[in-house]
Symmetry: C2
Subunit: 547 residues, 2 copies
């Protein structure tokens, strides 16, 4: 007898499960319930359609119910919300616009209900001027709002990926945009030393940025809405986009006995099975294992949702398949800039109690002598045993490539040593003979093996001024154009001759522009008996951090 | 006592060794001999300086003797050719423009003499109109030739990387360019099904391409040079660039007792040591292990030369370090196109007797609904046990990233299964939720597990017409716009209803545009009892191959 499979949710995870299932099992009966009108749409494209970078609304639909029927013989039922599940009888109850409430039985059930935007309980939150973005109706609502001629001012609350994408796209539409973020910095996957770069890009593109300040209340004032922040700063806008995160859309599971975590995420094993027989779950609604820290977490991204859908389908169809965890590889366009990250950041590692080291380098995107080369800021986080734990990259070109390569190394359990050995493609328009990823490996290797003695501006600031001599090892010209307070200047190329200017026994803290010359100075000084620290990231990082 | 190290050759391998050595050992005496006037120049940039994409000649110099002295305290001696080595006495004999012939002793010797352009023994080869490209004087010679107003026609002999780069750059300078390649296709690292794409790009950019025809003779005819090919075709040109490959520049080692291979490559172990005590060798002049086939080979590329230099320095300074082989990752810009490859190609594997499977897909560079998405042709070569053996990619965007990711997987010994699990960065401007690399993994996995039954146009052509039914599963419109001879049309979306049109027991060969719909048709047909083959790469590959 053929299997009967019900899928709840018809977008990333759900539709992926359905399509793969059909390929594996031509005879199965597959029903896909979707609460809304639309299935298989490009969630990730929504901000760009609002910003009119994607011009045609039709382009957002990867599949339609009719096409899913024709190609995959899937019984797609839209406007059909599953409101109850009986996992003993293996029956779901459906509230259908067309057919009213009815039940449908299953052999296998796949949950991919996704997530919903968080709407905190703040005075005035129900204003119709406050919009969230998750699906096509949300998109139509925001876009028709923005299309009105008299909408000039927008406030976006929340500096996560969707918030920043909305900021950019509203700006592209010519609006004045203010971004409000309660944390000290935007983009939580990035450490603060990296997040400052996209923050600057936003400001350079005319965005007003308010950091470390949350929303206390909203109130409508005639045609506008007033936003009161915790600091009592008041903002006015024609439209507010609320993008402070998502929660799993799993309240309908309440009485099902399907196990969920503290915040409502469905608990699954490696095969995407829940605690209930025959019930699988995938996508934004599930709890996953952090691939690096091995702790439980939730990472709402499309790649994992698609992959998990395929894995659930495999297991239902009898192909053994497992999901080994999410490492949180993510990427964002911020106007001209690219910001990408993979694995754990410092904050996560501190919380997990995992010791780590970091280095930051500023290599160029491709051979510097070939036109168009621009610097990348690349931060590598690694364990004392050499394992790569995470990486973050920001720059105008070539960032996605380097983060994807490091994501691959993390996935395959690679080390700093592996980074130095990677043989990546090189011709002048594409990279350097030592790719930035190799370079990060070299620098990290030198740290691990004690050849390079690095410190950070944070640590330097914490030291007593009288305990060290601060040396700027850049050229005289660079020094004159701006240097750290209290630094003396001895260019690295003169260091060997001018050693006598540095008192033996004193600790030397030295820096260059990005760290490379500082490393060479470190090698010269330490081999000449000095106790020396080279500031990682150099003067460039100091400038970025506005020290 | 401090070590005395002599380095022969002052560019990629030599200068890298010198710089790393100094960082490891502040006290060592380091002498670097360079036959020419220039050290540390950007070999890889030379074609682009001739093409005037790199505008300033100075940009080609990464280091100068003075700078190497100042920063690294290296005794750089230019115009100094090492002409003899006594490995017993540990002494080299130098022919110096400044000092005449003299000897210098060493504790350690590092050879990085590089390679020289092959000049075959053909009538007329000594013409001053035939130029090769390896170093700065070569570059100056070619450029000053091209800068003359009356130079209009160039013939480039050899369709390797340097040949094709010269073709592009001479074309950029407005010359009429003919490329002559003796093999059936240009760019040996690529299989013919891939090489045809850059060939088309060359022709689209006005290059005349002559394949499968070698040079028999040259003769000067007044201001021009006449090139006679094996086919007796005659070409005329103002300038000929000869780029048919390189040989190690190692004749000066003849009496040294340092072991070299059949074609003159220096034999080294994993630590870059030759058979003679204290003598190391790196770069284009050495024989390496092919990382995939484990056979001995020679791969003259800058990345390996730089890495090997660092490894030789490590070992001399007492840090254990080994070079595990070269996988030949390489990349080339061909006008707007990028062509990149890593690992073994079909030719190499056939020669090595290693069985393999291949798949070819045509995914888009990033989400198709986001502007600027363009297709990539991505070929994956893998072992029956799942190990990735090689990959080739061609396209207008995003090729370097995908090849670098696969190069990383190969380096870390990864499999097809690993490709499906990689978590790569996704947002619409950068990739798709299933990255092309994931997709290649899926398609290969389906082949390995017998879910997908693929064949190639080669194999189809070899079958008897009466033994199969050829089905085009694309839409009616696509079919009408052009299809394979003899194909009937049943769109995949109608296949389930029209099964009765296909005789049971007959073998079905079916194709779509790129392979995806063909795979779905394969799943439908094979689960309905048909013996079916889906042609990999689909109609697109047929068009590319001009079938
Ligand atoms: C604006 C935006 C931009 C994004 N950009 C990116 C990006 O660039 N990169 C990236 O990796 N990820 C991005 N994401 C995240 C990505 O879209 C999600 O991770 C992915 O869609 C999750 O898939 P899912 O199947 O779990 O949920 P969804 O795709 O949201 O699908 C869930 C569906 O289930 C339906 N549903 C819920 N409950 C029921 C019920 N009881 N009965 C019937 N139907 C129900 C919902 O209506 C919904 O259509 C973005 C998301 C948004 C909103
Ligand atoms: C035009 C061109 C483009 C290239 N493009 C790329 C590319 O895009 N990507 C890539 O990966 N690779 C590229 N390469 C290859 C790359 O440049 C080489 O792999 C690399 O330079 C090899 O380093 P090496 O140290 O072995 O040799 P070289 O860099 O050639 O250095 C050898 C030096 O040794 C000197 N020498 C030789 N014999 C003696 C002697 N007896 N005494 C003293 N000195 C001696 C020579 O004069 C020479 O300067 C390109 C090469 C060329 C010529
Ligand atoms: C499109 C959607 C319905 C899934 O469909 P899908 O058929 O699984 O996915 P694709 O169209 O990418 O095709 C992938 C399949 O084709 C195969 N394939 C791809 N190219 C191929 C080729 N050239 N030859 C043979 N097979 C090929 C793959 O192997 C894979 O099949 P498998 O899973 O059985 O191995 C679902 O992903 C979806 O709804 N997406 C939109 C929503 C979304 O993802 N949102 C978040 C991102 S914006
Ligand atoms: C430039 C050249 C002299 C080598 O110099 P090099 O000092 O080894 O190389 P780089 O300038 O790239 O610097 C790399 C070193 O700086 C370190 N470094 C780089 N960025 C750093 C940073 N931000 N902080 C600390 N250290 C850094 C690396 O760890 C590495 O040191 P290590 O080898 O001791 O680990 C040599 O490669 C050369 O001559 N190149 C031109 C010729 C050539 O390569 N041609 C072919 C390609 S066109």
């Amino acid at each position: 007898m053929s299997k009967k499979i019900i899928i709840i949710g018809g977008v990333a995870g759900g539709a992926s499960t359905a399509a793969r299932l059909r390929r594996l099992d031509e005879k199965a009966e597959i029903i896909m319930f979707e609460r809304d009108e639309f299935i298989s749409f490009a969630n990730c494209g929504l901000p760009y359609y609002i910003g009119e970078r994607i011009k045609e609304r039709d382009r957002l639909f990867v599949q339609t119910p009719e096409a899913m029927k024709a190609r995959f013989h899937i019984d797609v039922r839209i406007h059909s919300e599953v409101i109850h599940i009986d996992t003993d009888k293996k029956v779901v109850r459906v509230n259908s616009k067309l057919r009213g409430i009815y039940e449908e039985s299953y052999d296998y059930l796949v949950l991919s209900p996704g997530a919903k935007a968080i709407k905190p309980n703040i005075p005035g939150i129900e204003s119709s001027k406050i919009l969230t973005l998750r699906n096509i109706p949300d998109t139509d609502r925001i876009k028709s709002y923005v299309d009105q001629k008299d909408v000039k001012n927008a406030v976006v609350i929340g500096g996560g990926f969707i918030g920043v994408e909305m900021v950019e796209n509203l700006r592209e539409r010519g609006l004045n945009v203010t971004l409000v973020e309660a944390a000290p910095h935007i983009l939580a996957p990035f450490d603060s030393d990296m997040a400052v770069i996209p923050e600057k890009e936003l400001m350079d593109n005319g965005v007003r940025l308010i950091l470390g300040d949350g929303v206390k209340a909203f109130s409508e004032t005639g045609d506008q809405i007033e936003i009161t922040l915790n600091s009592d700063t008041k903002l006015r806008a024609d439209i507010v986009i609320l993008a402070i995160g998502v929660l799993p859309d799993t309240t309908f599971l309440k009485e099902s006995g399907i196990e969920v975590g503290a915040r409502g995420h469905i608990i699954v094993n490696e095969r995407m099975q829940t605690n209930k027989e025959g019930v699988y779950a995938v996508g934004d609604a599930v709890e996953v294992t952090d691939y690096v820290t091995k702790l439980k977490t939730a990472i709402p991204l499309a790649g994992p949702a698609n992959k998990q859908g395929r894995i659930a389908a495999d297991n239902i169809a009898g192909r053994n398949s497992s999901y080994k965890g999410t490492q949180g590889t993510s990427i964002l366009k911020v106007f001209g800039l690219t910001a990408a990250s993979t694995g754990a950041n410092e904050r996560t590692l501190l919380k997990a109690g995992i010791p780590y080291k970091t280095i930051t380098i500023h290599p160029v995107s491709h051979a510097s002598y070939y036109p168009g080369a621009v610097p990348i800021t690349l931060k590598l986080i690694f364990h004392e045993d050499g394992r790569i734990l995470g990486a973050q990259g920001v720059g105008y070109d070539g960032v996605d490539k380097r983060i994807d390569v490091i994501a691959t190394v993390i996935r395959l359990g690679g080390t700093v040593e592996d980074l130095t050995e990677l043989e990546l493609s090189y011709a002048p328009p594409f990279s350097s003979a030592k790719d930035p990823v190799n370079m990060a490996g070299y620098v990290a290797q030198n740290v691990l093996e004690g050849r390079s003695h690095i410190t950070s501006w944070d640590e330097v600031t914490a030291m007593k001024k009288e305990d060290y001599v601060l040396v700027d090892v850049r050229s005289e010209l660079e020094y004159q154009n701006g240097h750290m307070e209290g630094a003396i200047n001895i260019p690295v190329d003169e260091l060997r001759e001018r050693l006598s200017e540095l008192e033996q026994g004193k600790t030397i803290v030295e820096y260059c522009q990005v760290g490379l010359r500082g490393y060479i100075a470190d090698r010269i000084l330490s081999q000449n008996g000095y106790r020396v620290y080279n500031v990682t990231g150099g003067y460039k990082t100091a400038t970025t951090l506005q020290l």
